[in-house]
Homo-oligomer: 353 residues x 2
Amino acid sequence: MPKTSKATSIDIAYRAGVSQSTVSRALRDSPLVSKETRDHIKAIAKELNYKIDKNARNLRTQSTDTLALVIFEDNGTTDLINPFFLAMISSVIRATAKRNYDLLVSFHQLHQDFQGDYEDSKRADGIIFLGYGDFLTYERMARDLIHSGTHFLTWGASMPGQQGITISCDNLKGGQMATEHLIRHGRKNIVFLGDISEHAPEFRERYRGYCRALSQAGMIINPKLQFKVAESTSQLGYEAARKLIRSRSNFDAIFAATDLIAIGAMKAVQEAGMRVPEDVSIIGFDDIQAGMYTTPALSSIKQNAELAGEQITEMLIGMITRKENDPPIASRIIEPELVIRHSCGGYTQRLKR
Amino acid sequence: MPKTSKATSIDIAYRAGVSQSTVSRALRDSPLVSKETRDHIKAIAKELNYKIDKNARNLRTQSTDTLALVIFEDNGTTDLINPFFLAMISSVIRATAKRNYDLLVSFHQLHQDFQGDYEDSKRADGIIFLGYGDFLTYERMARDLIHSGTHFLTWGASMPGQQGITISCDNLKGGQMATEHLIRHGRKNIVFLGDISEHAPEFRERYRGYCRALSQAGMIINPKLQFKVAESTSQLGYEAARKLIRSRSNFDAIFAATDLIAIGAMKAVQEAGMRVPEDVSIIGFDDIQAGMYTTPALSSIKQNAELAGEQITEMLIGMITRKENDPPIASRIIEPELVIRHSCGGYTQRLKR
DNA sequence: ATTTTTATTGCATAAAAATGCATAAACACG
DNA sequence: CGTGTTTATGCATTTTTATGCAATAAAAAT
């Protein structure tokens, strides 16, 4: 065995000739311990490679300095997580580390035990949810969590009468911006690809933005130009666009609810012999990395994951550390940004074709 | 306040009219407690929504049922994590959950405290490292960890005399497969883009595979066709390819050490007026998602992240739970797979150009 | 009826650090 | 010199669950 058992605060106390309580205080820089003994104790602690036992500390203090990140996914398949979520995950990892919190990461598993576990079982001080799969299921869970006094917040559309605190991109505005961009390029028959049911409030908001832009431009909203895509995958985007093409509807632009859907749609459109952006303009939503590498490169509405992860972390820690009289933490909205590349036209095509 | 303070095992004991120890045993299905009382106790626990306090339990049992995943990254920038690592992360998240372990995720931060913290401070039972930034720094750390008896293993090239246990793709074989694929397409002047210094052993192995394939085909290894790319980004790949083009060296194929580098190189090549794959074949390494969406779609060597994450998790848990006489856990290698798309030629081009 | 065996259950304590309360030492002041 | 005040430190206890050992009750054997 290459190691002797780990040093405890009692070992240090013994070696320093003080009591265990003094060691505890000294290591936390308590002014109750003289600078002299403090330094002495710290030196010994370092020498013995002493590390505070987090379990003992957390048990005593009834806190954990840990956050939990729970990712919602419908498909329990071996699929990759959607790229935007991955961007969020990395920014949350960074943000929590910066604030000296640990981060537990897991998937939400419907069949498994309740998520409140994290805080009830004292493994984390609060929970961040990424998306909410089916909205109605989420609502029920949120109610329970609020009831049990759990600290949590959610990345996802904030709906009127929403349970709990959310942070999200302004999906309505983003949808409007995307559609206006297409209109600015002179497009007349703009297709929307995405789920507009109440199960997918974010997509629905984007669709509302689409409708608003159309109305404000005095254009008619044609329900035949809306195709349901239940999940954000390029495969389903591809299939929906094929259905659109087969429907023989007249269209000259596509606004896809996500980039993944847009990428699939672009493939279908190109395979059908139409040119992007000359014949059909396409714009997506999320600004995922893969969008940079399609031909033409995909224009999109960017949700600033970096900023969002930073803010969501800060808000949750705010909720946890909030004192009685502090102002309550409120839901927040991130501004979407239009990222113009080459899939909508109107810009010099640098790649020869 | 919407909640009364959480129930403890003592509360349950009181309500069940038994001692706390009996509650503890009953909830863990100990045969020392009669089935009758066990069921009774469980019913009360459920009614009170009792959750075991993990801190108390971990303190008592001196274990945590938690793994730590530490991601190595050179650049402390706000950049995205490299896509292959993200795939690994999601598969490790899934694999740990499946085995009822929790997962702490963090970045390795050189300036910060030592990583051994995780196990020393009893926050995790073991650590998975993803990559190792600079190899020499890693070696030093690995030595310390072994010395302190920490359970850990690393995703990354296993070198002769390597510290600790590793799991990795067979980079040598992968490099050879990629190069052979290019040779099979009749390519004569094959460029290698990547770092071949000892700081990047994985890239170096891929380069060795490249050399071996060339030698076995009776071709000459031309050092002028090797360009250093220090990090895996499309930007650096783009710059390296521009340098290659400016060098006026004669080339008809590129093997890039990663897909990201390949994607950047493809862009530079196409901008210079060369056609892919007609004039230049390109192949990458990793099989990241974005490679599917380039034009032409990028051929690559796939490292099976799904499988790797599964295995690395299983191995680490094996190390942790290993009994005195169990066979020791050994380093392992994952087979690379050739993924043929359209960037090397020889296949019908479906997209019109 | 008494002893032995078996099955349950409780008591006391361990695990490691944090903290309220008590106390000792040092110092000041009348 | 005695009393009050400040500063530093220790003692005892707290947090919650798990477990070795002891005790008890019930069942079986003599």
